[in-house]
C-alpha cells in the first residue's frame, strides 16, 4: 500500500516482534527448552486471545479519539452473566452468550452516548462507567458464581494443532473489524472523527455514529473476552477483569502497536503485533521462571521505551528545503 507512514509504523511493530522472537529463542534455549515447541507456541497463542479481543475493541475507541477504562468490569460482568445463565446446562450456552453480549453492548452504548452526547471525555465517561459496574459487582457477587457446561468449556481448551480455537475466533473477529475499518463508511468515519472532529463535521459526517459504534464494539469485544475467561475457568468471577489489569494493558498494547493515543491514526494489524509482543514477553518470563512481580516491571519499561521510539520517529516537521533537495514545503504534520 502507499500509506507510507502507517506501513512504517506497523513495520516497526513487527520488527520488534521479530526481535522478541530472536531474544525469546535464545533465552528459552538457554534453559534447555524450545521456543518453537508445539506446547510453547500454543502457550503464547493462548496468551494472545484474551488480550487480543480487548485490544481490538480498544483500538477502535482510541482511533475514534476516546478511551475505554471500563473493560475490566465488562469482562467480569460478562463472565458472571454467561456462567450464571448457563448454570452447567449445555442447552443454555447460546442464551448465556447472547445475554452477556447484549448487556456488554448496552454498556458500550451508554459509554458512547455519554461521550458523544454529553461531551464527556472518554477517560472520565468510561472510568465512571467502570466504577458503576464495579459497585454493582461488589454488591451482588461475593465470589465466583455460575457454572459453564463442558461444551462451552471446550472452547477454552481445544485447538487445531498448536493453535487454540479461542485464538482462531479472535483472529476471525480481527479480520471482520479490519474489514469494517477499511471497507465500510463507519470505519472511514472512525478515522475521520478521531483525526479531526471539525473536519469530519464539515464533511457532513454525523459524528455520533462512529463514536457510538466504536464504544459498542469495544464493550462487545470485552464481553467476548469475558466469555472466553468463563470458558477457561468454568465459572464467572467478579474480579477476573480487574485482576488482569486489562484496561491499561490493552491501551498499552494498542499504543505499542503504533496507534496514536490522540486518535485518527493507527492500525489494527499493529495492535495485534503489540498483543503478540506482550504474550511472548509473558511466555519468556514464565519459562525463565522470573518472579511474576518483575513481569510488570518489564511490561512497564517495554511500553515506555517503545512509545519513546515511536515518538522519535513520528515527530515529522516540514520537509527540509536545504541540506536535502526538496522544492516545496509541505504542511507541518503534528505527530
Amino acid at each position: 500500500m502507499n500509506r507510507l507512514s502507517r506501513l512504517t509504523s506497523t513495520h516497526i511493530v513487527y520488527l520488534v516482534v521479530l526481535l522478541t522472537v530472536i531474544v525469546g529463542t535464545i533465552l528459552v534455549g538457554s534453559v534447555g527448552r524450545s521456543f518453537f515447541s508445539t506446547g510453547n507456541i500454543s502457550d503464547i497463542l493462548t496468551g494472545t486471545s484474551v488480550l487480543g479481543f480487548i485490544a481490538i475493541g480498544q483500538t477502535l475507541v482510541i482511533l475514534v479519539g476516546s478511551l475505554d477504562l471500563s473493560v475490566p468490569y465488562v469482562i467480569s460482568l460478562s463472565s458472571l452473566i454467561a456462567a450464571g445463565i448457563m448454570a452447567n446446562q449445555g442447552a443454555n450456552v447460546l442464551p448465556g452468550v447472547l445475554a452477556a453480549l447484549a448487556i456488554s453492548a448496552l454498556i458500550g452504548l451508554a459509554n458512547g452516548l455519554v461521550v458523544s452526547g454529553l461531551k464527556v471525555h472518554g477517560f472520565i465517561a468510561t472510568l465512571g462507567m467502570g466504577l458503576i459496574i464495579s459497585g454493582y459487582l461488589a454488591t451482588n457477587y461475593q465470589g465466583s458464581s455460575g457454572q459453564a457446561p463442558l461444551s462451552f468449556r471446550l472452547i477454552g481448551a481445544t485447538g487445531l494443532g498448536p493453535v487454540p480455537i479461542s485464538t482462531l475466533i479472535m483472529l476471525a473477529t480481527a479480520g471482520l473489524v479490519l474489514l469494517m475499518l477499511n471497507r465500510t463508511r463507519v470505519g472511514h468515519h472512525i478515522y475521520a472523527v478521531g483525526g479531526d472532529l471539525g473536519v469530519a463535521r464539515m464533511s457532513g459526517i454525523r459524528t455520533r455514529t462512529p463514536i457510538i459504534t466504536a464504544h459498542v464494539l469495544c464493550s462487545v469485544m470485552a464481553g467476548l473476552a469475558g466469555l472466553l475467561l468463563a470458558a477457561r475457568l468454568g465459572v464467572g468471577s467478579p474480579t477476573i477483569g480487574s485482576q488482569g489489569g486489562y484496561d491499561l494493558l490493552s491501551i498499552a498494547a494498542v499504543v505499542l502497536g503504533g496507534t496514536l493515543l490522540a486518535g485518527g491514526k493507527g492500525s489494527l494489524v499493529g495492535t495485534l503485533g503489540g498483543v503478540l509482543i506482550f504474550a511472548m514477553l509473558d511466555n519468556i518470563m514464565s519459562v525463565m521462571q522470573i518472579n511474576p512481580f518483575l513481569k510488570d516491571v518489564v511490561r512497564g519499561l517495554v511500553i515506555v521505551i517503545a512509545v519513546a521510539v515511536y515518538a522519535r520517529r513520528t515527530v515529522i516537521t516540514r520537509p527540509p528545503r536545504f541540506e536535502k533537495s526538496s522544492t516545496t514545503p509541505a504542511r507541518e504534520v503534528s505527530a
Binding site: 455519554v114 454529553l118 461531551k119 464527556v120 471525555h121 477517560f123 472520565i124 465517561a125 472510568l127 465512571g128 462507567m129 467502570g130 466504577l131 458503576i132 459496574i133 464495579s134 459497585g135 454493582y136 461488589a138 454488591t139 489489569g245 491499561l248 491501551i251 498499552a252 499504543v255 493515543l261 490522540a262 518472579n291 512481580f293 518483575l294 513481569k295 510488570d296 516491571v297 518489564v298 511490561r299 512497564g300 519499561l301 511500553i303 515506555v304 512509545v307 519513546a308 515518538a311 522519535r312 515527530v315 505527530a335
Partner: protein, 368 residues
Amino acid sequence: MSVSENAQGTRNEILARNRSSAGDRLLRALRTPSGGVFILLIALLIAVIAANPSFGEPGSLIRFIGRTAPIAIAAIGQYFVIVSGEFDLSMGSVVTAQVFIAGNLIGDDDARVLPVLGLMFVFGAFIGLINGLVTTLLKVPSFIVTLGMMLALLGMVLYSTGGAATGNPADSFRQIGRGGIRDVPVLEIIPYPVIIFVVTAAAALWLMRRPYGRTLIAVGDNSRAAALTGARVWWVKTRAFMLSSLSATVAGIILVGYAGVHPSVGRGYEFTAITAVVLGGVVLGGGRGWVLSAAAGAFALETLFTLLNFLGVESTWRDSVQGIIIIVAVAAAAQTWQRKRRGASSRTHEPTHPIAPPPTVGTNERGI
C-alpha cells in the same frame, strides 16, 4: 508611560481601578464549575448533618477532615499535573512504594524516622522527575509514561517484599497519621493530618499565585504560546510531576499511620485523585480550574460517601456512586463551559471601558 512618574500608591490605585473588585471576582468564580464544587460541598455537609446531627459537632468534623486529608493532598498534587494538561497514573504506586519504604527502612528504630523521611521525599521527587522528563523530553504521552511507571514501581515493590504485608514502622512515625494535638478546647483534638493538609493547601495556593503557578496554567491552556513567551515548558511540567509525586509521598506518610503497611494501601489512589480533581471543575487537558477546588472535590466525594453510609446504603455501592458523580459532574461542567461560550456571542455585552484613562479625563470612577 504617563503613569510612571506617579507615586507607588497611586499606581496601585490605578491598577485596582482597572480590575474587578474582589467580590465580583469571587462571584464570577463561583459561577464556574470550579466554584460550584464549594456549593456542592456545603450542600452535602448540610445533608450529612441533617441525616446525623452528631457529625456536625466540631470534634467529629475535625476528625473527618483528618481522615480525608490524604486523598485531598493527593488531589492537590494531581491538580498540578492535570492543569498543565497531563495525567499522573503513577500516584497510587508511589503511595504504595512509600508505605513500604517506611515500613521496611524505619522498623522499630525511632532514630531512623527523620533520615528515612528525607529519603522518601527524595525518592518521591525522583519519580516525578523521571515521569516529567520522559513525558516532556522524549515526547511520550504522560498517560503512557505514568502507566509504565505505575506498573514498574508496583512490580518492584511487590518483588522486593514478596507481595505481603510487612512490619509496621516505629510508632513515632505512625503518630504523624494517627496522632494530633490533644486537649484543644471545643475540638478536643487537632489531628496532625489536618495540620499537614492546611499547610499543603496554603502552600499550593501560594504557589499558584506565584509566577510559576500562573505559568503552569498558561502552559496547560496553550503550551505553544507559553513556549513562545520563553517558558521552559519541559521544566514547568516536570516540576508539576514532582509536586504530584511529593504529594503522593505525603499522603503515603499519613496513610501508614491510618492503615499500616500493606500492598493494597494506595491502590486506585490515582483514579480517586483524578475523580476529585475533575469534580473540582478542573478541565482534563489543562488550563482551567482552581487548586483548592481539587481539594474541595476530594472533600465532596468523602462527604458523599459519609452521607450514603448514614443513609444505610451498603458500602459496596460506593464505587457506583463515585462513577455516577464523576460522569454527572463532568457532563454538567461541559454544558456550563459551552453555555458560557454560546452566551458570550448572543447576549448584549458587558459594559467595556478604555483601560486606565489618563488622569486628565476626570475623576469619575471608571472614567468613560
